[in-house]
């Protein structure tokens, strides 16, 4: 049956059809929907793990147990899971193990633009890369075959465009794969030096065989055009841009297998043309490989650079000198950056932090938007969990004065992911730091995924819920307070008290995300224009529902959810 599917949805379909049984992932844009879609098939067990390392170890354990298994993550998640990845490369698998990593070319929703192919090369694990939804389904099924044939995990590299574009997919029935027999085999699965040395020999031999496989694999494809003046080597989404921009003006070698890459196939293709252009997003990995195998009539990065996405216009411009006509207005069109939603519980907290003028060590999630104007409240954002451990280091460096003027902010899901180990460090190594957990009872930014604090699992069924207060106390934090960020005065008072305390403390700022379906909204507020003096105190909150018309505040009733923090700000009683 033909269906229009997101790349991620087609990926999940591939998992289903391949007889995958166990799925464990951590959400991260643009990878999240693979696991959400996988959870809709009852034949697969699917879960959100607390972080990517746990997810990968879970999937590896299931593979060793004999079940075809999967874990998915975004590019930076693979850094967290790099530890199990590099050794899973040594152990290999029992039943097939497939790993999805979704790169975010153009940084639509990420803190960096790293190229995950480096991890595949460094861990000596094969990586394949689809270029549309149909290939997502096909490649995933093939990935399980490669995994079992070559005794290796297989990484499927996605990108924002492939993950979040819909195209037509032909579906097939599921092929069940019964549990494979599990046999104790320490030489293969106990990676202490004596055994790991043997496995490293195996890994190098496996890479040699995989390179041989890449020469003839259906994953790599040559498309010869008789009228071509030059050849293009490309991969992933870039293939689609190349085909659209160049049509039959170029012959194309499409690499579906990006680690290891073929040698003879590339040498033969490059031998047909004087000029070979490599069109690849981010780093010049294919181009370097060409030089390594003595193919020197290639160029690519000198034309396309290392930054952001490529598209058909860029290719047509750079390679054919063609540009499309377009018109624009003379007016300056103001940018529209993402903002915290109307009624977002994070807003009140950041308003208080800005007012107090403290240094804020930030983290990854919706609350990163607290860095944007007009709140401008965040000083640093690095990676998952870095708010807490970074604050500890900041305070160790700057001492007692800093300890009373700085906080870390971290969401509930991010705290469970890798924030709590930082809190252990604060308690254990005794810095007088103040940590604020923004508990909005969901993983927000990635589109509402459950996590270990919410009391529900991926399927929405009841699950054990971590009690954050008790957890922080068990870690060794004696001062644990809970505030409602809709109550600004109380929130500010508690933050002041904890900053002035002479020991470490945790403040849990608790209020569910305003977008959650079960959250009841109050009636929208409106401004009494007779009472409004246009002082703009309410505008300092940065609420997208409030704007100024004719020097008075107005509230957009379609956006306002009646959270009331603007009402608390208004000294003239104009908001009701």
């Amino acid at each position: 049956m033909k269906k229009l599917m997101l790349g991620n949805e087609a990926f999940a379909r591939g998992l289903y059809e391949a007889g995958c049984r166990i799925v464990s992932s951590y959400p991260g844009t643009p990878s999240t929907e693979i696991t959400e879609e996988a959870a809709k098939y009852d034949e697969m067990y699917a879960e959100w793990a607390p972080n990517e390392k746990v997810a990968m170890e879970t999937a590896l354990g299931a593979s060793i147990a004999g079940a075809r298994s999967f874990c998915g993550m975004k590019h930076v998640g693979l850094n967290v899971a790099a530890d199990p990845l590099y050794t899973a490369g040594y152990t290999g698998v029992n039943a097939g193990l497939v790993i999805a990593v979704a790169d975010d070319q153009g940084m639509h929703s990420s803190q960096n633009e790293q190229d995950s192919r480096h991890h595949a090369i460094a861990s000596k694990v094969p990586m394949i890369e689809p270029s549309d939804s149909g290939e997502c389904r096909d490649f995933v099924k093939l990935a399980f075959e490669i995994s079992e044939d070559f005794d290796t995990p297989v990484i499927v590299r996605m990108s924002t465009r492939v993950a979040h574009s819909q195209s037509i997919v032909d579906t097939e029935e599921r092929q069940e794969h019964e549990l494979k027999e599990y046999t104790k085999n320490p030489q293969k699965y106990v990676m202490m030096p004596a055994f790991a040395k043997g496995r490293h020999v195996f890994v190098e031999e496996r890479m040699r065989k995989l390179t041989e496989y890449a020469e003839t694999s259906p994953l790599n494809r040559v498309e010869i055009s008789e009228s071509a003046e030059f050849g293009v080597i490309t991969n992933g989404a870039a293939y689609q841009y190349v085909k659209e921009a160049l049509g039959d003006k170029a012959s194309v070698l499409k690499l579906g297998m990006v680690n290891p890459m073929p040698v003879k196939l590339i040498q033969d293709f490059a031998g047909k043309y004087d000029r070979i252009i490599v069109v690849e997003e981010l780093d010049g990995i294919i181009e370097s490989h060409c030089h390594n195998i003595g193919v020197n009539n290639v160029e690519g990065k000198n034309i396309f650079g290392y930054i952001g996405e490529i598209n058909q216009s860029v290719i047509a411009d750079k390679l054919l000198g063609e540009k499309k006509e377009s018109v624009s207005l003379d007016d300056n069109i103001p940018v529209r950056p993402p903002v915290m939603c109307a009624g977002c519980p994070h807003r009140g907290l950041f308003y208080c932090l800005k007012k107090l003028g403290v240094m804020v060590s930030g983290d990854i999630g919706c609350y990163t938007l607290g860095a944007a104007a007009p709140l401008n409240a965040i000083d640093t954002t690095i990676c998952m969990g870095a708010s807490i451990s970074g604050l500890h280091g900041f305070n160790k460096a700057r001492g007692a004065e800093s300890e009373h003027k700085s906080v870390a902010v971290i969401g509930d899901s991010t705290f469970m992911h890798s924030g709590m180990t930082g809190l252990v460090n604060i308690a254990y190594n005794n810095s007088n730091s103040t940590v604020i957990i923004l508990d909005n009872s969901i993983t927000g930014m990635t589109g509402h995924q459950q996590n270990p604090t919410t009391g529900k699992n991926l399927k929405g069924d009841p699950a054990a819920a971590v009690n954050l207060e008790e957890l922080c106390k068990a870690i060794g934090i004696k001062r644990v307070r809970v505030v409602d960020p809709y109550h600004l005065a109380e929130t500010e008072k508690v933050i002041k008290e904890e900053l002035s305390a002479d020991e470490a403390s945790v403040i849990i700022s608790r209020r569910p995300c305003a977008l959650l379906k079960y959250v009841k909204h109050n009636a929208p507020f409106a401004v009494d224009s007779d009472k409004c003096v246009g002082c703009k105190a309410c505008m300092k909150l940065g609420c997208p529902a409030i704007s100024i018309r004719d020097k008075k505040a107005v509230i957009d009733h379609t956006q306002c959810v009646g959270c009331g923090i603007c009402k608390e700000q208004c000294k003239f009683g104009a908001i009701n």
Binding site: S167, S326, V327
Partner: protein, 190 residues
């Protein structure tokens, strides 16, 4: 058939994903090759959101670049102005007249440009401006602006009405179907 390109633009949270699903469904039922490219994640939080829909005999790239769109459908006026450069010469611009201030306007560091509909007209755009928000509220909820604009689009495309109705039935949850069908009709007749 040569590939056709439709761009759907608006502000995160206005329902562009549903709109693109409806169009995608219509095009698929007509036997075209179809690609739809969406934006998820951070940009959805009140930022500019762009969705691309492309169809034809064979579609390669899922994205639309400047000067390539046969039609731009905008849920918000400033976003229509922002995306004007993507419109092909002679392409159609369908926009809601709704205005949502972006944060730089709210904080006072930028101005929301005035008389945008007139300016877009004089820039040569074949523009249809509709008060989609009022029509949606007339249908029962401000959230149905997206479907009102699908109605406007339907009136400019040559697909039979039943195809659009089927797409609505497949893409909209049953309990909101009647309301959305009403919004669609209001858009079609706008």
């Amino acid at each position: 058939m040569e590939t056709k390109s439709i761009m759907i633009v608006g502000v995160g949270g206005q329902g562009s994903l549903l709109a693109s699903r409806i169009i995608g469904n219509v095009l698929l039922s007509q036997g075209y090759d179809v690609k739809v490219s969406e934006v998820h994640g951070m940009s959805q939080r009140g930022g500019s959101v762009v969705t691309y829909v492309k169809y034809g005999d064979k579609v390669y790239s899922p994205v639309i670049e400047k000067g390539e769109a046969d039609a731009v459908i905008s849920f918000e006026l400033l976003e229509a102005a922002r995306c004007l450069p993507y419109l092909k010469k002679g392409g159609k611009l369908i926009t809601s007249t709704q205005q949502i201030d972006p944060m730089p306007v709210i904080t006072g560091t930028a101005q929301y440009p005035e008389n945008l509909v007139e300016k877009l007209k004089s820039a040569g755009a074949d523009i249809t401006a509709v008060d989609a928000l009022s029509l949606a509220e007339q249908a029962g909820t401000s959230k149905a602006s997206n479907v009102v604009l699908m109605g406007v689009l339907a009136s400019k495309m040559d697909f039979p009405d039943e195809i659009w109705q089927n797409a609505l039935e497949q893409c909209v949850p049953a309990k909101f179907l009647e309301l959305n069908k009403k919004a669609f009709e209001l858009g079609k007749n706008a």
